[in-house]
Assembly symmetry: C2
Homo-oligomer: 145 residues x 2
């Protein structure tokens, strides 16, 4: 799917597996070390190593020499990685709205300043109108798969 003309397909090629986005989510919230990710996610170490390498290869994470003085390396988000934030928020809002029973405990993303949940994302036109899927169309470059 490397040559797909659809940006959604290209994104999924990079972050479309189960663990990658969860790693990015944890990285957004400050995790940096191999062991931290492993403990937080409960993923097998070989898989984690593989995914971290994948994310580094695609420029979403980069390795840094240290930070606490130890000789090991850390994984930190690049600008490309930080710009995945809206995707994580979108997934979180959808999951919260549709994948929980009422009253079931869940984590929430809160505005640090006032402790309020963030607003539901809205797709807007250039002039600010809120758009649904019926209000948009797809422009294809040539032939599309």
């Amino acid at each position: 799917m490397e040559g797909a003309v659809c940006p959604v397909a290209r994104s999924l090629d990079v972050i479309g597996d189960w663990w990658s986005l969860l790693i990015v989510r944890d990285a957004q919230y400050g995790l940096r070390r191999f062991g931290e990710f492993q403990k937080s996610l409960g993923v097998a170490k070989n898989i984690l190593a593989q995914r971290l390498k994948h994310l580094v290869d695609h420029g979403i994470l980069e390795t840094q020499p240290a930070s606490d003085g130890s000789a090991w390396q850390e994984y930190v988000l690049t600008e490309k990685g930080r710009s995945l934030f809206p995707i994580l928020v979108a997934l979180g809002q959808w999951g919260q709205a549709h994948c929980f029973e009422a009253g079931e405990p869940r984590t929430r993303v809160l505005d640090k300043a006032h402790g309020q949940p963030v607003k539901p994302l809205e797709v807007r036109a250039a002039d600010g109108r809120v758009l649904t899927v019926q209000d948009v169309r797809l422009e294809r470059p040539a032939t599309q798969g």
Copy 2:
């Protein structure tokens, strides 16, 4: 991961594989029939059947008796499925910004009314301020994995 407290993880449990979101994307743009999905995605038929069943089981698609008079069924999005729209837009915008060379052809999502691309998504606080990942914090219910 069924019992995860993180809404992102729950979402990925439902739509976190390679094909599901692409099926939903095509459904958003009007595809309904098994054969249409298969032709558009190029996916093996057994995998497609499995994914469609999964999406139906999770209430994202539902089967309808007909529409062109033929005896077969169609797959159409439910409200839950339609509400995945912002996720697809977020993925599309990110992919477009970070996974293409300049000038490389790509599909685009355009506002039907004016033919303009949609605005980049913004995460906003309840009071309307645009938020980055540094401006938010995570509230955990009890213990989190």
